[in-house]
Amino acid sequence: MKTTDLTYSEVNSLVLRMLEPPRKAYFGILFFLLSVVGIGVTAWAYQIFRGMGVTGLNNPVGWGVYITDFVFWVGIAHSGTLISAILYLFRARWRTSIYRSAEAMTVFAVLTAGLFPLIHLGRVWLFYWLFPYPNQRFLWPNFRSPLILDVLAVSTYLTVSSVFFFIGLLPDIAAARDQATGWRKKVYAVLSLGWKGTHRLWHHYGAAYLFFAALATPLVISVHSVVSWDFALSIIPGWHSTIFAPYFVAGAIHSGLAMVLTILIPLRKIFKVEKLITLDNLEAMAKMIILTGLIVGYAYATEFFIAWYSGNQYEYEIFRWRATGDYAAEYWIMVVFNSLIPLLFFVKRIRRSVAWLFALGILINIGMWFERYVIIVTSLAHDFLPYAWGHYKPSLVEFAITLGSFGWFFLLFFSFAKFLPAISIAETKELLPLPVKRGGKRG
């Protein structure tokens, strides 16, 4: 059955049922995720007290898994804003049921990504020097540094997407408030800011929401462009490239959509909301993944072509080496998983099979992680001066912290899904026909 066959009250009950007090299994998973986070935190603490030496990093490879994770998580964040803001402006109806969770994913992914610039700092206790704040030394950050631009972009992105997320939640929290009892009611009451759905409120709310969407749209494009400039503004062969911004944005959305699939498919199953998050929604995303997959594949090809066409020996050498050198395995994982596997979605049967969607979603995520890994590590390991060529192998600490970041992300999302409406009630209702007496069906 389709979403539009539901009634208003059914929507409410379907969504709010997700918020009912959790069962034992839920707490079990919660504990598991917490302990995973614990592992990461311990590893980080160890790294802080001993020094960055506990990683596999070295000279020449000064960046490794941490920056990879950072770019990966920022990338994940992007599809959320894409779905909630850009598709909102384009009035894409299929976004309605999924945008809330996508948006949540954005906020949590940025919260995760934001940790890595700190984790990779040699002297993390001085992280605040990266922010422009008045101090007795009269010292300011270097606004020419891509890293500062990055700090600004990511912190802006976090703020804006959180606000956007919260505002979108208001009417639904109010709905939850009206249903809930006891302490939950109190909490929701506070969070809802006393939302009452009066006509004036809806009026300003509409305007504000539109502005948020309008602001978030250019922001999301800019953020990953800036992230890509962390590399493109350097002179390292394989980094110093003008295609990086579009290439990274596409890649970000590619991985983001894949992550949405990976999260939503279990979610709709567990909470039995297949009626709301329908197969059509998922298919629509699969179609977008085909597009982004093609763009990413095109970017890979272009890189090689330019490397050859430019006649720049350093550029050429690095790409030859990527495909055939010490990191060939990682390289081919990236190519196959990101640009070939998505093509399977051309097959309608695969596109509409939940199992396939889930599996391929995960593969694409793996592929996109390796994309960043390959770009970062190979270029550094094999740049201008042959004497200084080196090799990088991640250490256990880096692995533990990466693991922890996944734990952290899913922990946040897991708690969210049980506490806040993971599907927008109000907007879903907008999809339904208005309940009218004459010529309409009974609401």
């Binding site: 020094g51 030496g53 000279n59 270097n142 891509p146």
Partner: protein, 941 residues
Amino acid sequence: MRRRDFIKLLGVASSASVATSCGLTPENSQKLIPYLVPPDREIIPGKGMFLSTTCTECPVHCGISVQVRDKVIQNRHRQVPIKIEGLPGHPINDGRLCIRGQAALHRLYHAERFKQPMRREGDGQFAPISWEEAYQVILQHMAKVKSDQRKIGYLSGRTTGALAELMDSFCTHVGVEKLPEYEPLFPASVVNASFALFGRKELPEYRIDRCDFLLSVGADLLETFGNPVQNSRRIAAQRKKGTFRWVHLEPHVSLTGLNATQRLTPKPDSEWAVIAYLLQRVHQSGRAKKTLPGSVLQEVPQLSIEKVEELTGIPKEKLQHLEESFFASDRPLTIAGGVSTASQNGAFLAALTGLLQWATGQVGATVDYTTAVDYSSVGSAAAMESWLKELDQGRIGVLFISRCNPVGTAPQSWQLHHRLKKADLVVGLADLPDETTALCDIILPVSHSLESWGEVSPRKDVASVLQPVLDPIYETRTEGDILLDLYRLELGAAETVDYREYVQKRWRKASSSRDLPTLMQQGYYSVSAEKRPVRLRETRAANLLRSARPQEKTEAAIVYFPPSLRFYDGRSRRLPLLQEIPDPLSSVSYGRWIAVSVATAKRLGIRDRDELRLGIGEWETQIAARIQPGLPEGVFVVYRDQLDAYPVHHLNPAGEPLSFLSGARLEKTGARVALPILSGSTSDHERGIIAHFKEEKESKHEPQVQMYEPHEHKVYRWAMAIDLEACTGCSACVAACYQENNIPLVGKEEHVRGREMAWIRIEPYYTGEEAEFLPMMCQQCDNAPCEPVCPVYATYHNPEGLNAQIYNRCVGTRYCSNNCPYKARRFNWFDHEWPEPLSWGLNPDVSLRNRGVMEKCTFCVHRIRSAKDAARDEDRLVLDGEVVPACAQTCPADAIVFGNLLDPESRVAKLARSGRAYHVLEELNTQPAVTYLSPHKKEGE
């Protein structure tokens, strides 16, 4: 949790404590400690005081100038050395110093130094005892031995000057037999030849600065042979003249060979044929300045050029070319030595070489015996046989072993391991534990030369002064004082109280007019050496040639055991700094390896870091492989200092142990070794990193198009010029930099991970058989890629053209290092330990960097600062050559020139304009302040 960890914890919690501290130097203690009494030596706090003395890391004995600083150590003022530099004007090294000399402080401050006398207990362990007890034990044994008519032997490393004199009188008076001095690298064949030919038990001074053609055979002039510092300096000077050619023959590959104009690799032990050929050609062509008597000449084998080609494997035309250029020159200098004379036919080769020098009239010209090094007191391995037999028969009851490690370096045939047990008491005089001290019964800790008075004679005509630059750190005494003490205890009254007085007496006698202070400042005084002319002794020469007839058998699968640049004969092996600095040929820092030729590696499928099982006869060892370009097929090299025992038994006719073993069995064990190879690639992949000089080429400096308005420098633009023609890759600069800038030693594991901390490094780039050595450090770029990427302005371009790095502002993103095309930046992955007394040697002008901070070459900004300070006092600008960074200061080849680019008359400015000037990775438009001068292409095989 340990207290320090807790502090760190706080540090993380409250940034302040960690943020501000970049490491604590003794000068920045929280207490303010006054002198008790102002020191007699006028020393200005915060300024260095320079004292002249002599380096004793090897027998060359360079004059050194030691920078002493006043520091507060354990709440007491103490004046301690922080840096050693060559002593300007000293006849041996004139201001320059080698890698080992630069590292000498690591011996002084070594953690394992013997801190007081020790005696071996029943359980074989050493237990500390007092000096008096030690003397008692020794004297008792001596008395007993004398009573039952046995001998007391005194074995020492090469001893000269005051100590030699004292030792002689000690031995004669106390009734001790002075055994022939033991020197592992004693060039017995050469000295033996010059004795036979010219009646001198000496190694002449080779005046490379006077020759116009140099033919060196096996002699590793730049590593250990003769006076490496002076050799490389003279070679560099000669090269600047342009007409100079240098052909080097060696059966393996060495730093010396790779630096020669042309390097020829004859078959092992066939070098003599080339010299024999030249010698007879000299006579046949009537070019001989002094014709050899027939009796001698008939002993010289008659070889056709084809025969020589057959024997040596050197192609005919190469030989002809060699012959031509040899005869073309009017002052051709021939030097034989190293692995070529330490071989079966080495004695013969040495003799022929002597004759060639004579015939070409070079003896007395480029081969100077008036300034020779006297080896009369040193014994060849053969000369040791007699007392070794006595030792074996237990006729030596007490044996003193001083300043040498025969157990570790002497041929196996000495069998010291069980022979030493035959003596009742073996007394070791040493500073660091080694294979020999492990077998001693009593150990008398000898003071480091920087703690000692003394006088050595590096050359017949030079006496070099030793004066203490700091009070002994431990309860150690100088060898001189030990001898005097024993003398006194044995015979009561001694003519002098202590060794200090002893040497100063000598000085007063010697430097009649000059007063001691100036003498001690000058660091040496010249001794009148007898000038009797050198004559050729026909019969002895003929006899030598007859007795040392060459064998023509060609050896297979040869492993050479040459001495190494870093560890000499192995005596410097224990110095941490020298282990940290990679061997310039292989770029391997720590550990042992065997150099395998490219061809052999291909044949046996050997890769770098493969573990090999190396077996020769019954001797066998596991060792890592390192592929070495330029090494002939079937020849392998293992530095002798990497073996804890010298596996050779055989001696050549001159009584010199061979430097190689043949018939090596080599196989892969299948295991891999974590060998720290610091080089990512031995080739520059045609990236023009080494730009060979082409005559037609104009100055490579057509100004590149700049995107932005170039910023101008007002008064100074500090710059450096490095002459790759002169640079030999000797790595002295690296050691100097480490010591000057408090660069931490991080050890093997970190090197394996690729985390060495050197600010300047030697990058060898091989093309075929040849190599060029590129010193690489921060290029102080005008458009530095590292600067704009730093988020906190920790690095930026300063008004004087320096690429400044402000350590305590650094937050450690490491982006600067990523973006540095020269990879010249170093990150502090951990905090570094500076245990006492090593921390005494830290340079207070340079702050310590703690974990999480990026660091790099600063062009020795602290030296620039103090030079500007001095100039400011006199209200003038800094003069050209007033600022000399540590690397440039020590460079024996004078390859590094530093100065102000804005002054068109400065040396560096002139060089930067020259036609040979180029920048590494110029196309990146980083506009480096370091200019390289392109070398001439080697002529090759």
